[in-house]
């Protein structure tokens, strides 16, 4: 009666065995997912973040270094017991914040309960000390050290730039695939320009670990491990003492100061006012501080020396002089009447020769001299003639490094604007403009815009009598001189003309900027007062010193500070004194600059008129 039942049972037994073998074949041989899961289970990839390169000033004074910070990671599945009240206390969070944090974790794309996930980032050393004591009470939470940027000085924030975690869009744009989420990336300034030198190489260690996350040695004896390579140190051309002094003088002012070493093009100081405290843009408060700094109406993140474009004003008369002399359209003895119908002027000996025109910054003189540069009768048509003359003039100007970026080793340098015939053709139409349309250019106004670093470079050209080296910020990398091409850029203008101009600049100090006089130092300079339709005029000054053997070339631009002979000349003169002598003897002038009130009643009333004091000096 029980026929075949033995066979049925045998078939059931064998059947189960075959089902198991098939299922096993699927999960062991066909589906390789499990092998990967096993690796992520047992192999802990530990990133060894490299030390970012340090940044020094020209005298090897440390400017930027790394300070430890700590990230708190969590592996959700390892949280066994969790005393949330205590957690809140230790980590100084509210219960709502904690719950929000956990909720936020789950919304992250890369979130996995078995992987290390950042819970709190960038804890300070103080937080770390408190948390370290209690971390054992919260299984599943880990602290990983990392470094963040720290600064020995608040100065130079704009030039150095800041570092922050790589953003999503930057990560997507990174074709090298070097960067990963949460990596630090230089976002501006030197940090950004020299990112690949400063960043170093990330190291990776593969460690075996058990289910509790306890390390059980390295994978295959560390065969796959890589060591981190620290970033290279950078020595800048900045003299941090001078920089700090410059920033001190710029306190409460808007504008720029650029000081160069004429013989090398090294940037000694680069002040952007107003600036910000670089420490704000580090650590856990980065986001909120960044919002604060970037939304500040005074734009502290805007690197004015390289990015702000201003009309140069009267300092441009120096360039006009040199072009005119080189073109031979006027000479040292050419005189023009101080005719104030087109442009205003001050009272000075009239008619002046070229030297006097520079010394007293005579606007009508240069308005008439510039006509000679533009209209050289190369065409009978006055419109065509102006067009030819302007483009010829523009070629000269460009050789002074104006109108296009100089190639400073910082990101986002602006080129300014040097108008040529094309620009005016676009504005007025071809053949519909002539010299009388564009005469504002003669005194550095109108459509002409240049950056403060270009102004400083102009001063360096005067100091060098006709050439310049591209201004730069990095002197050496890891002890080796920077391989940036130090090309000598020639203006192609006779040295003799420069000697003449330098003499005029030396005299101009007495003519328009007596505040700039430094006893015992022969300083050459030129003031400018750039007209500003939006508000008070900008105060401009460019100079170099000492005349015999120039060590420093400088340009100062103070927005809305009026006369060039006041704010800009005073600041430039103090910085030169500081650099050349190491101390300030003119305490009164320093106090005057620090007080910063260049727009007093008198100054406003006598704008565009020489002060009695100046007249006296001329005698």
């Amino acid at each position: 009666m029980n026929e075949g039942r033995k066979e049925i049972i045998q078939i059931v037994f064998i059947g189960i065995g075959i089902i198991f073998l098939i299922k096993l074949f699927f999960i062991q041989v066909l589906d390789r997912r499990y092998a990967q899961l096993a690796n992520s289970n047992a192999i802990l990839k530990e990133t060894e973040y490299p030390f970012r390169g340090l940044i020094y000033d020209r005298n090897e004074k440390l400017l930027v270094y790394n300070s430890p910070e700590y990230d708190l990671y969590v592996i959700k599945k390892e949280i066994l017991r969790f005393d949330s009240a205590k957690f809140c206390k230790v980590f100084s969070m509210t219960r709502e914040e904690l719950q929000g944090k956990f909720k936020e974790l789950k919304t992250r794309k890369e979130y996995s309960p078995v992987k290390q996930t950042v819970f709190l980032r960038q804890l300070s050393t103080i937080d770390f000390a408190r948390i370290q004591e209690h971390i054992d009470e919260f299984p599943g939470f880990y602290i990983q050290p990392r470094t963040t940027r720290a600064y020995t000085t608040k100065a130079l924030a704009n030039a150095v730039g800041y570092v922050s975690e790589i953003s999503k869009s930057q990560l997507e744009r990174d074709t090298t695939k070097i960067y990963r989420q949460r990596d630090y990336l230089g976002q501006s300034g030197i940090e950004s320009q020299y990112e690949n030198i400063l960043s170093g190489k990330r190291g990776m260690r593969f460690k075996l670990r058990n289910v509790d996350g306890v390390e059980k040695g390295s994978l295959e004896g560390g065969k796959y491990d890589t060591l981190s390579v620290p970033g290279k140190n950078i020595t800048t051309t900045i003299d941090i003492d001078l920089q700090q002094y410059g920033e001190l003088l710029f306190n409460g002012k808007v504008g720029s100061l650029v000081a160069l070493e004429p013989a090398t093009g090294e940037i000694l100081a680069m002040v952007s006012g107003p600036s910000y405290d670089p420490t704000l843009l580090t650590g856990r408060k980065f986001s909120s501080n960044f919002m604060l700094v970037s939304s500040d109406t005074t734009k502290p993140l805007f690197t004015r020396p390289l990015m702000a474009m201003y009309p140069p004003g009267s300092i441009f008369k120096i360039v006009q002089t040199l072009i005119g002399l080189q073109e031979g359209v006027f000479n040292y003895d050419t005189r023009f009447a101080c005719d104030k119908t087109l442009v205003n002027c001050h009272n000075h000996p009239n008619p002046a020769n070229l030297f006097g025109a520079i010394q007293y910054s005579c606007n009508p003189y240069f308005q008439q001299a510039f006509r000679r540069i533009i209209n050289q009768n190369k065409s009978p048509n006055t419109f065509t003639d102006s067009s030819i003359g302007l483009d010829n003039w523009r070629e000269y100007v460009k050789r002074f490094g104006l109108g296009s970026p100089l190639g400073v080793d910082l990101p986002s340098e602006k080129g300014g604007q040097m108008p040529g015939s094309k620009l005016y053709d676009r504005i007025y139409g071809e053949g519909r403009w002539k010299y009388s349309t564009i005469y504002s250019l003669s005194i550095g106004q109108g459509e002409m815009l240049i950056t403060p670093v270009q102004m400083a470079n102009m001063a360096a050209i005067m100091a060098n009598k006709g050439y310049y080296y591209t201004p730069h910020l990095v002197k050496s990398i890891a002890g080796e001189a920077s391989d940036r091409i130090k090309k000598r850029n020639e203006t192609g203008i006779d040295t003799a003309y420069f000697s003449f101009v330098r003499n005029a600049m030396s005299a101009a100090i007495y003519g328009t900027a007596p505040r700039a006089i430094i006893p015992g130092i022969n300083i050459c300079g030129k003031t400018g007062t750039a007209e500003n339709p939006q508000g008070n005029d900008h105060s401009v000054f460019m100079a170099f010193a000492p005349k015999e053997n120039p060590k420093i070339a400088i340009a100062v631009y103070v927005e809305n500070a009026g006369w060039g002979g006041r704010a800009a000349a005073s600041i430039a003169s103090l910085v030169i004194e500081k650099y050349l002598t190491g101390e300030i003897k003119r305490q009164t002038l320093e106090a005057y600059v620090l007080k910063g009130d260049f727009q007093d009643q008198v100054a406003r009333a006598i704008k565009n008129q020489p002060t009695p004091q100046l007249v006296n000096l001329q005698e």
Binding site: I16, G17, F20, L24, A38, N39, K76, V114, V211
Partner: protein, 430 residues
């Protein structure tokens, strides 16, 4: 007496070889499971303090003890087992009643009776004891399986230990006793009862799998209408089909009730984890997920002996006992799994072969009990590690770490071999 000592000639050596092979493989894998590259734990790491001894050494001692047990079984008169079957059964049931009161708690289950630092689980021994009693009843003179009274008695005989062990909260071991229905089937119980049980279980799982039960009800309705209109439209047939459909709907309806009200939370979770282990890989699905990861990462030929990371670093829970198969899967790959599964199938088929050659019903029914108990353990244990069954904590015979289970399985097997050795001496009573 001469026959007792001369048993080696009649010993079924094939079974013994398989037995030894599985036991040694198990022993090596227990070592691999607890192996810690940083600890000083060699294969034969001996300590004088038993509690300090590594697991593979403890297991080695259990294995040695098994040999003594085997010797004892072979020496004892073969008639003893049948004669005293009911008495041993009664005594063991009594112990099982006592366990909840005097037992010590290990791992949440109060299933151990302690003697010093040693402990035994009466529930392990209940298996062979019940097998003997059931076999004796089936082998009794004039026994007929189609007798309702006999069927009820047999069901009672397996229900008593099942219930008592359930009281110890050891669901896994308790469920082992359901496998006796296969023995009953072999001995003549109507297949309808077995099939009805399987169908119910199938519908039960289906009800769990289908999220919205409306579809299931609709499907049953459609199926009912199709079968009614496809065949003869007799009133009786329609009534039976409708009644069947109502029963099925009742089962489905009861699933939710059973899940939420009868099963304990951790058991509910295990059932849920079976249906979808990925739904919460860290919660109730953790064991299955990790077990599958360990086995799946082994590949075709495995990572090599002692080179497993998942089992060694404790990602797999209970890796030396219930989840011992993970070690084979991870370190020996599919090839190793094939070897182990083949050994077990060989053992099962050999035991059936032995059972079938017995000359009396007692020995045959006992043989089938042995085969079926092994089968249940084998199927459920490996099935759960690869995610085919819910996680039920029962050991893999001769393979998992543990003295009680090793001894109980050894006794189970060697009583059969003892009976087999003397099969020529018994009166045919088939």
């Amino acid at each position: 007496m001469r026959n007792e000592l001369n048993i080696s000639n009649k010993m079924d050596w094939i079974t013994v070889m398989i037995y030894l092979a599985i036991m040694v493989l198990g022993w090596l894998n227990i070592y691999a499971a607890v192996f810690d590259p940083e600890a000083n734990n060699t294969l034969f790491h001996f300590t004088t303090d038993f509690s300090q001894m590594p697991l593979q050494m403890k297991q080695l001692m259990f294995m040695t003890a098994s040999l003594i047990i085997i010797l004892a079984i072979l020496i004892i008169d073969m008639r003893f087992y049948e004669t005293f079957a009911y008495i041993i059964f009664g005594a063991t049931m009594f112990l099982l009643v006592l366990v909840p009161f005097i037992g010590k708690e290990v791992g949440g289950n109060r299933a151990w009776l302690g003697i010093g630092s040693f402990g035994v689980q009466p529930s392990e021994f209940a298996k062979f004891v019940t097998a003997l009693a059931v076999a004796k009843f089936i082998g009794s003179v004039g026994f007929r399986m189609d007798n309702l009274r006999n069927q009820i008695i047999l069901l009672a005989m397996i229900s008593v230990p099942l219930m008592l062990i359930l009281l110890q909260k050891d669901t896994g071991t308790a469920l082992v006793f359901t496998v006796f229905t296969l023995v009953f089937f072999r001995e003549g119980m109507s297949p309808f009862l077995v099939i009805a049980g399987i169908v119910s279980a199938f519908i039960f799982v289906l009800a769990l799998l289908v999220e919205n039960e409306i579809y299931l009800y609709a499907g049953i309705g459609v199926l009912l209408l199709v079968t009614i209109f496809a065949g003869k439209k007799k009133l009786k047939r329609i009534a039976i089909l409708t009644a069947g459909a109502i029963v099925v709907v009742g089962i489905i309806g009861s699933v939710d009730y059973v899940i939420t009200n009868v099963l304990k939370p951790h058991q509910q979770n295990r059932v849920k984890a079976l249906i979808n282990p990925d739904s919460d890989p860290l919660g109730y699905g953790w064991n299955v997920t990790q077990s599958k990861i360990a086995i799946g990462s082994g590949g075709f030929i495995g990572k090599g002996f002692l080179n497993g990371t998942q089992t060694k670093f404790d990602f797999v829970p209970e890796q030396s006992t219930d989840f011992i198969f993970c070690t084979i899967g991870e370190e020996q790959g599919w090839v190793g799994s094939l070897l182990v599964i083949s050994l077990f199938i060989a053992l099962l088929l050999r035991v059936i072969f032995i059972a079938e050659r017995q000359k009396n019903r007692f020995a045959r029914a006992y043989g089938y009990s042995v085969a079926c108990i092994f089968f249940f353990h084998f199927a459920v244990n490996i099935g759960m590690t690869i995610g085919l069954f819910p996680v039920i904590g029962i050991p893999l015979p001769f393979f998992s770490y543990g003295g009680s289970s090793l001894w109980a399985f050894t006794i189970l097997l060697f009583i059969l071999l003892k009976l087999d050795g003397h099969r020529g001496q018994v009166l045919a009573r088939l």
